[in-house]
Every structure is written in C-alpha cells, then in structure tokens.
C-alpha cells in the first residue's frame, strides 16, 4: 500500500466518518491551529473538541470523553493499522507512539492524546517504501496471522528510537509488552535486530 493510497483512502474514510456522525464530527484534512483550548467542564454525553496530531497531520475532531485513542484512530480517522485485541492493556496489539514512546492506545483517552505527537504504523511508511522496521518484519517472516504485527512494529520502533543498538536482552525486554498468539517470537526478535541495523545504515 503506497503512502498516496493511504492518504487518499484516509481522506475518503475521514469524509464518510464525518458524514456518519452528522455535522458534529469534523475530521479536518488540512492543518489547523496548533494550540487547542483545554476542554471545558462537560456534561455527560457532551462532545469534546480536540485536535489530534497523528502521523504529522492535525485532525480537528469532536470526541466523546469515553472514546479511547484506539477507537478514534480506527473508527474516526480510518487508521485501522492499530488493532484492538484485549482492550485492557494486556496484549499490545494497539501499541502506538505518543511523543515517540510506545503506549497502548486502548488505555489512552482520545482527549488525553491532545497536544502529543501520535505515530501509528501507517506513519512509518517512507514515501512509497516500507520503513526499516516494517521491512525487517517482512523479510524475517516475523508473523503468521499478522494481527499483532502493527503493535509489534510500533513497540520495536519505539525501542529503537530510544536504544538504537539494543542487545538481545534489551530487545526481549523492550518487546515484552506485546503478545503474539501465533508464537512468532523468535523471528520477531531477529527482525528487531535486523531493523536496528537497517536504521543505523541510513534507514530512517
């Protein structure tokens, strides 16, 4: 899937989503003012106006306070790379980067993600190309069904941003917040080590 396709697809999804919630839900596609007022006290059922910066792009949205970042990414922004597994912080399928650090999008309220840089697996594309971590996972068959893979890739990306050349134990610890039901762990560890090399050698 090329970056262009992602964008076009998103645009269409974003539009449909907007229509879906009526005039209230505005998924803006262009840049919006960076500073967002802190949400005022709301009544139950009220929507909050938030600006979420996802993969470098700002989205103005109306969200319910109870919506998680995972829900908004998938159901409002059409970024379905992040997966819903347990939805209680126990599997890692929903891992995204918040200010460059891996977190579970299922345990993060969308309202709390405001003011932070969010990166999803879609944001790791390098133009038309897979990013180095994605490439390493593909080359090493670091998955079977692939359901956990976007989360694994984001955990690896976060690990390598903090620790560009991790040892075997650091990789195992860094990836320990992601479960793979297919048991592809051995290949996942190899892929992360490969990705470290790719990133060092001029990848992103």
């Amino acid at each position: 899937m090329s970056d262009d396709n992602v964008t076009r697809h998103l645009t269409r999804r974003g539009f449909l989503t907007t229509v879906g919630v009526g005039a209230a839900g505005v998924a803006a596609l262009g840049p919006t003012p960076a500073e967002a007022a802190p949400p005022a006290v709301t009544e139950e059922g009220d929507m909050l106006r938030v600006v979420l910066k996802v993969n470098g792009r700002e989205h103005r949205l109306l969200v319910e306070p109870r919506w998680t970042l995972l829900f908004v990414l998938r159901e409002r922004l059409g970024l379905t790379g992040s997966k819903a597994g347990c939805e209680r912080g126990e599997c890692g399928a929903c891992t995204v980067l918040v200010d460059g650090v891996p977190r579970y999008a299922c345990m993060t309220l969308a309202a709390e993600a405001q003011g932070h840089e969010i990166t999803t697996v879609e944001g790791l594309m390098d133009g038309e190309q897979l990013g180095p971590v994605q490439k390493a996972f593909a080359e090493h068959d670091a998955f079977q069904c692939g359901y956990c893979t976007p989360g694994q890739i984001m955990a690896a990306e976060g690990l390598l941003r903090a620790t560009p050349a991790p040892g075997r134990e650091e990789v195992r610890l860094g990836m320990s917040g992601n479960i793979c039901r297919c048991g592809a762990y051995a290949h996942i560890v190899q892929a992360v080590e490969k990705a470290a090399g790719l990133r060092q050698g001029g990848g992103r």
Binding site: P65, M107, G177
Partner: protein, 325 residues
C-alpha cells in the same frame, strides 16, 4: 466502549481539588488502572478529573535535606530510569522496572501506582463482594490462590503496587493536597489495612490529591532491593514480593525494614524478619533464621499455602543478593 462520563482537565491544583471533591468524580492520572476499573464496572464515574494538565506534579528534583522529591505524575518508566534513584535508592528502581509492561510503565504514574485498586479476581469480576459494598469476600472460602496470607480480615484481597512496599521500606512520605490545605504522611499510613476498612484502599478523602512522594536522604551504607515472583515475567502482579532496606555497617545489618507485597491488603511490614536480621551479619545462618521467621504469623487460606514457601525462598535469595552487594 467505556460507560459514559464527563471529562475535565483543570490547569490549577486548586481547581482540580474542587472538581475532584464533587460526587461521582474520579481522578485520572495515567488512566491505566482507572480505565480498566471503569470498563469492568468496578467503579462508576460521573466525571473524570484529569490531573495531567498540572505540570507542577511532574518530575524528579532534589529535596533541600538531601532527599528526593518525585512528582505524583512522574511515570513509572522515569522512576526506573532515573540515575539518582538507581544509584541511591536501587530498590525503588528495581520495583519500577518490574511493574506491568514497557508501554504501561511509559504511561502509568507513581501517584496512580500507589492509589490503584486491588486485582482480586472477584473484585474485578462480576461479584458483588465485600470490597464493592457486598456482604462477603468470596476468596475466604473460594479461589484464593492470589490472596492474602497476612492480616486478612473479612477481605483477603492484596495490594497490587510494586512501588509501595519499597517506598515504605525506604521511609518515604507522601504529600497530599486538599481543600483544607496539605498534609504529609508516611507511605505506610497511606494504605488501609483490611481490618481497618475493607472497602477503602487509601486514606485520601474525596478531593484530596497526592501531589508528591518524598524520599529521605539515604543513610550511610543504605542498601535496598525489591523482587517479586509472578506467574509470567511481564504484566503480572506479585504473587509474593520482598522489599528490603537496611544499612550495612562493617558487615552488620542496621535499621532493617522489610515490607512484603502480594501477601496483604497493604505492603506488609514483617517485624519478625527485621528482628532476625538487626544487629547481625548477613551470613548463611542468619539468612536461614530470617527465612524461618518469614513464615511466622502467616495464615494461608485454602489455596495459597504455597505463598508461605515462596516467601521463605524469596527471602533467602534476596538476602543473599543484598549480602553480595
């Protein structure tokens, strides 16, 4: 989808205290425990008062007396990685690095870690148990593998925090801000024993906010450690954990403080172990005596007698580790 609630993110502590004091309000820090409680309907919230906008609750700074101040919003990952903590209060860094998973450590805060709700499977499940306002603790006669072996009294849930036992062993205090002003209490007194009130985890009143944790200056020769045993190496809570803080003075143990996790509704102070070690060299016979003392006073339920043996073994290994330095 979570049940509906309203949300507010005040920017001043005063406003946060006022809003958190209203009926049905719950404080949201990292949200990693709170959102799970809401999803499982262990708690009902009308309003979440997010304190993440209070930047004065963030960060680690030296205290004037040579100790260390940790803002309540300091993340568990920050505690685990902090060079001063790793150097001077090693047990706290060890505890933080054993909490949950990397992602949860990046998000969960120290304040939230101390104020989190128990993980008892009845309490978190579909049971109207004593702690939730029901009639009885189902673990007393039921599936008690994860439950208390010390101090159980009507309720047998254990406190899930890994940082609380080490902070208690290190003699840390917490600062609490409320409508009436601020107060400072030892971490030991923050959490409520089952016998005092099985329906309450902390002494915080509605509207009170834990603002910081303060570590006293490390005494000369201070050694501290924390280790927990769990069913799997990530995500899991302590079946049994041991927090130790003591001074080694010419090889002799002084000012020994021992707090256990996974065995009681609060970090469980164990004076028997402390007495077995105080004023003694940490040699094999003393360590063996401490391990025997560890079992004293334990009152296992039907399915958790294994915790007593686990505690004895863990006690031995941890003392050996501390003695090696």
């Amino acid at each position: 989808m979570l049940p509906a609630f309203s949300y507010v993110r005040p920017t001043t502590l005063g406003e946060a205290i006022r809003l958190a004091g209203r009926k049905g309000a719950h404080i949201h820090a990292g949200g990693t425990d709170l959102l799970g409680c809401l999803r499982d309907q262990v708690l009902g919230a009308e309003t979440l008062v997010s304190i993440t906008g209070l930047s004065e609750l963030r960060g680690i700074a030296p205290a004037r007396d040579g100790g260390l101040r940790l803002g309540a919003l300091t993340t568990i990952a920050e505690v685990a990685a902090d060079p001063t903590i790793r150097g001077r209060y090693a047990g706290l860094a060890e505890a933080a690095s054993q909490v949950a998973s990397p992602q949860l450590r990046n998000q969960g805060t120290l304040g939230g870690n101390l104020c989190q709700k128990p993980r008892c499977w009845y309490y978190r499940g579909d049971f109207h148990c004593l702690r939730k306002g029901g009639e009885m603790c189902f673990a007393a006669e039921g599936e008690s593998q994860g439950h208390a072996i010390f101090g159980g009294d009507r309720c047998f849930a254990v406190h899930p925090s890994d940082t609380a036992p080490v902070l208690a062993a290190l003699g840390a205090t917490v600062r609490i801000a409320g409508a009436a002003g601020t107060r400072t209490i030892p971490v030991e007194q923050l959490l409520v024993p089952a016998g005092t009130n099985p329906q309450r985890e902390t002494v915080l009143e509605p509207g009170e906010i834990l603002t910081e944790v303060v570590l006293p200056p490390p005494a000369a020769g201070l050694r501290s450690s924390y280790r927990k045993v769990r069913a799997r190496a990530v995500w899991d809570f302590a079946l049994v954990g041991v927090a130790l803080a003591l001074r080694l003075e010419g090889g002799v143990a002084r000012q020994v403080r021992v707090f256990l996790s996974g065995v009681a509704a609060v970090p469980w102070r164990h004076p028997g172990i402390e007495a077995a070690l105080t004023g003694k060299p940490l040699d094999a016979s003393i360590i063996a005596a401490a391990s025997v003392a560890a079992a004293k006073g334990a009152e296992p339920l039907g399915k958790n007698a294994y915790k007593v043996e686990l505690l004895r073994g863990l006690m031995t290994e941890e003392l050996e580790r501390l003695a090696r330095g």
